[in-house]
Symmetry: C2
């Protein structure tokens, strides 16, 4: 079992590897892999040992091979169907976001409850009603559900996604979702990030007052 | 000096306090404040002691007073002007995002380099060219710069924002920005979140194979 903290660093190693591959480098050191991750080289070697990848002392890791190993470990060598719930500004942007498809996350379904949005076509997909979720789930077999709704309905949407068989949720709504064991939730909370920056500004202003 | 980890938890306490205030509760326990933050009650009390707020044994904290203290500490009792650079799908959504203004983050400027976007009006603001940034900065005094550009230009944009006097950056572009000491950067990286969910799906698929 790979520790969660290691999983969270694999995408960062992957990014460095992609840069190295783009620059036609064939080997890479654990020191170099450590740079973006905010860890030391020993931690990188430990992380990669979970993948069975040990590198060669004095040479480092083979870029292409490690790229493949990490991609496979992260499940990036296959496509994951995505359903987005909530087509306000953010959901709309996510539906149009080219970055999803490019990374193997194929948006296959869009869901809202607003009658003015249901039936609308966004990025070639027709928005359907939340009540259609069970039918959509059996048709589209979504792996990942994206919640871009207002906070008060996010838990209900999460419950419906889980009931429809979704086991990974990316939540943009503020607040904490409770989900059954075996369902993964990742959270992107813009207001918390903004508040942390606000604190920084506040402190700066106080220093210059 | 409040530790960074404490700063990162203050917005979470704030959210719990807002819920308590909305429910007309007048006092709140450190246990309750700990729930959302994934910490224990002792850590909450330690965090809040940095604000000089000690609560009352057996009673807890006064909701309204703690709300005010944390809001002030986070700089949320004043408005911070925000400039968004990069008006693709994501930047567009951010420019239209009502959540910014509601939280005291006033979008005052929009910037792009694409001639088809410069001059466009989004949410009542006309998009200006990146070269206008120094002029805009002296007019608008932005505190926070939001980078929603493609990754390859993000560092250049960060450099220009810093040169224009911006000291807080919210970065949506993949990759790491290097900024001078005194400039705060927070990062929202959708692709890393998606890759972590992908790993979870991959592991689930392997278990059910």
């Amino acid at each position: 079992m790979i520790p969660e903290a290691t999983v969270a660093r694999l995408p960062i190693y992957l990014r460095t590897l992609m840069e190295a591959a783009a620059a036609h480098e064939t080997t890479i050191s654990s020191e170099r892999l450590a740079e973006l991750g905010g860890v030391n080289a020993a931690k990188v070697r430990k992380d990669l040992s979970y993948l069975g990848s040990l590198g060669t002392r004095g040479v480092g890791y083979d870029v292409e091979f490690l790229l493949f190993e990490i991609s496979r470990e992260l499940g990036l060598t296959r496509d994951w169907p995505v359903i987005i719930v909530g087509l306000g500004n953010l959901g709309h942007a996510l539906a149009n976001y080219k970055g999803f498809g490019a990374r193997g996350f194929q948006v296959v379904g869009l869901v809202d409850v607003d009658p003015t949005r249901v039936g609308e076509e966004i990025a070639g997909i027709t928005v359907r009603h939340l009540d259609d979720l069970p039918v959509m789930a059996s048709e589209l077999r979504p792996a990942i559900g994206v919640i871009a709704t207002p906070a008060p309905v996010a838990q209900d949407v999460a419950d419906r996604l889980v009931a429809a068989g979704v086991t990974s949720i990316l939540n943009f709504a503020p607040g904490v979702l409770s989900v059954p064991k075996g369902v993964a939730v990742r959270k992107v909370d813009l207001s918390i990030e903004l508040q942390i920056l606000s604190f920084h500004q506040q402190r700066q202003a106080a220093q210059h007052a």
